[in-house]
């Protein structure tokens, strides 16, 4: 299933024909020919005690697909410990984005992997402790060299345990010991920022045990995994990397007829469509459950359907088996316009980029039209003859995966609903200032804490539009700034009469002597247009003053997405501080003592630990 999806993505890129026509040779051929010099680099290091070289074409391709040229450094065979301690030059570096670790049990402890029956439980425990110490040492060693994201592939459970059917009946069986080791590994990874457990047993289950291993190459070259397995593992790794690089999708746009229910509501009517707990409506019902699950993880759900709006909303309101409700829908374009036009409207309406959209439709025609007209949108085809697979197609795509699901994520759908209410109020109140006052906004500025760290890192990874410098930081990076004297990390939370938007802004200040530099200043796109930026800048200036600085440097680094903040610093009273006057390129400065700045008056309250 999943391997089909990954090659599907490859298929989309090479040609728009059948997914299964794309072969391993064609991927390699594609990579030989494609021009990647203009792309930013994705620095990947692989530490391993087995041969995984055949995975590289998949990794390179998946990197290309999210806009990166992969620079992959492969550690020497069975040198994980040595290289974690810096033995090989050029494998791990401060600029490494991601470290993949393949530590297969067979080459770590033959006893636990293959000789358990003879080993006995006491020796097994001894071996397990030795491995735990090795894991802890490797993690510490890597962290001493780089803050890169660590993806550690856990130990696989044996297909045929050492003690046969007896193995699962006792705690010290092979399955039990390995499960415990994986538990230790998870805990160890959790205690290190930006380190994650990749569940190889999930990959194994999806591919199927017999197809996952290639015993021929295990014996010939200590390469345990089949081509199919490597494709699945690479796809799994890229769910993490996509999220790290801010390339996860934010919104699922759904067609209605033959996607949310079977049949055409405009023709078959409310009672004629197929949707319910039993076949054939159950396929759509279970698909809807998966959509609702995504909603709960913070994915925005939108509708894009050629229909009369009344017909569609009647199904939402009156059909007893609709799991998806009106309140889940952040935006809807139900009309007779073409889908590319409607998708553009949805993106505009939700204030997100087209590349954040995934469009799901049953029609080949619509899918191909969207792929041609808006290649930035990912089009997910739900084939009419595979309705029972709809749920799996959505669940296996991995496009929405996030490194952490925060409270803000879980509440996001509701926030967009209240955003719609706010827009209504705006329409009623002509004067901006009194409108902003009527929102009863409370701003809460705080220094970063352990509890807010995941959301802060996430915002730096995901925010594109109101982002002055677009510097992407991992949790480990933020942690580092929290611990040093030379930087401050502020989080900004917004509450108004419609609800708690959670943490929606981040500001990072770096200090050198009597100069503070605004390293990062960003706001989530859903709180723009409320003057929040004015309040945040004043907080930053005050903080710089409190830290004894005389000058604050603001920097604008242009990207394809952040043109709206091009003139932000001049608007805030900063003066150009270009190389002519001794500052860095594209920067502005503000002399802290020069102008007395007042808080904007339209906030009901600004809570902050920063003194006047």
């Amino acid at each position: 299933m999943a391997s089909t999806d990954a090659s599907g993505a490859i298929g989309d890129c090479i040609s728009e024909e059948s997914v299964l026509d794309v072969t391993y040779a064609e991927i390699q051929d594609f990579l030989n020919k494609v021009e990647m010099d203009h792309l930013p680099k994705l620095h990947v290091a692989i530490l391993r005690n087995v041969t995984v070289e055949s995975m590289l074409p998949y990794l390179r391709f998946l990197a290309y697909e999210i806009g990166f040229a992969a620079d992959i450094r492969l550690g020497n065979y069975d040198n994980i410990v040595q290289e974690s301690l810096g033995a090989s030059e050029g494998i791990l570096a401060q600029h490494t984005d991601c470290v993949l670790i393949f530590m297969k049990l067979e080459n770590l402890s033959w006893g636990l992997a293959r000789d358990l029956a003879r080993l006995g439980s006491e020796n097994a425990q001894h071996e397990a402790r030795r491995i735990q110490e090795t894991i802890a040492g490797i993690l510490a060693g890597i962290r001493a060299q780089t803050n890169a994201m660590i993806l550690w592939h856990g130990f696989e459970l044996p297909l045929y345990p050492a003690l046969g059917i007896w193995d699962s009946q006792i705690p010290a069986g092979q399955t039990g010991v390995i499960t415990e080791l994986n538990g230790f590994l998870r805990t160890a990874l959790r205690s290190v920022a930006n380190a994650y457990y990749v569940d190889l047993n999930l990959c194994l289950a999806r591919v199927g045990g017999r197809a996952f291993y290639d015993e021929r190459y295990w014996h010939i070259g200590r390469a345990p995994y089949s081509r199919e397995a490597l494709c699945e593992i690479a796809s799994e790794d890229f769910k993490f990397i996509r999220s790290l690089k801010g390339k996860s999708k934010k919104c699922l746009v759904l067609d209605c007829d033959n996607v949310l229910w079977g049949g055409i509501v405009g023709e078959d009517g409310l009672s004629g469509i197929r949707l319910g707990r039993t076949y054939p409506g159950s396929a759509y019902w279970e698909f809807q459950q998966e959509v609702v699950n995504l909603y709960g993880r913070g994915v925005l759900i939108a509708l894009c359907s050629r229909n009369n709006p009344e017909d569609v909303w009647e199904v939402f309101r009156a059909h007893p088996d609709m799991l998806l409700k009106e309140e889940h829908i952040a935006a809807a374009e139900i009309n007779w316009d073409d889908k590319p036009t409607n998708l553009r409207k949805i993106a505009l309406n939700l204030n997100i980029g087209l590349e954040s959209l995934v469009f799901a439709d049953d029609s080949d025609f619509e899918i191909n039209l969207v792929r041609r007209a808006i290649p930035e949108v990912t089009a997910l085809h739900l084939p009419k003859d595979k309705t029972v697979e709809y749920r799996n197609i959505l669940a296996s795509c991995g496009l929405f995966d996030a490194l952490a699901v925060t409270a803000e994520d879980r509440a996001r759908g509701a926030l967009y609903q209240s955003e719609a209410q706010r827009r209504n109020l705006k329409a009623q109140t002509p004067d901006l200032e009194s409108y902003l006052k009527s929102l009863e906004m409370v701003v809460e500025v705080r220094f970063a804490e352990q509890s807010t760290l995941p959301r802060i890192a996430q915002l730096t990874q995901k925010t594109n539009q109101f982002n002055l410098t677009t510097r992407r930081y991992s949790e480990a990076d933020i942690q580092k700034y929290m611990e040093t004297e030379d930087a401050d990390v502020l989080s900004v939370r917004l509450v108004d009469r419609y609800g708690d938007s959670g943490i929606v802004g981040v500001c990072i200040l770096k200090y050198a002597g009597q100069t503070a530099t605004i390293d990062t200043l960003l706001l989530s796109c859903r709180v723009l247009g409320r003057g929040l930026e004015d309040a945040v800048v004043i907080q930053a200036l005050k903080l710089a003053k409190q830290r004894g600085c005389e000058m604050v440097i603001g920097e604008y680094r242009p990207t394809a997405k952040n043109a709206q903040v091009k003139d932000f610093f001049p608007r805030q009273g900063f003066e150009p501080f270009s190389p002519f006057s001794g500052g860095p390129d594209g920067s502005y400065r503000y002399l802290v003592n020069r102008i007395p700045r007042k808080e904007p008056s339209y906030f009901t309250e600004i809570r902050s630990p920063i003194q006047e």
């Binding site: 390699q28 051929d29 030989n32 021929r216 010939i220």
Partner: protein, 79 residues
Amino acid sequence: MMFDKKVFRIIGQVMNVPLEDVNEHSSPENLKRWDSLQHMNLILALEEEFEVRFTDEEIFLMGDASAILAALQSKGVDR
């Protein structure tokens, strides 16, 4: 496409050389990138393309392009 041309094409794609540089004498001796790891990638690509599965011994003995052609023919693949 002719069966042998198809095999040569895959060898060219995996070893990153133009199709015209591949013939039945191509081997690790004369193609720079053809090492044991690329040999493995070549086998994986051939198996996928022709829907066959080689035994470990066959993999070991497929030392050049003509041996690969012969091994595929012995599996009934010749088109």
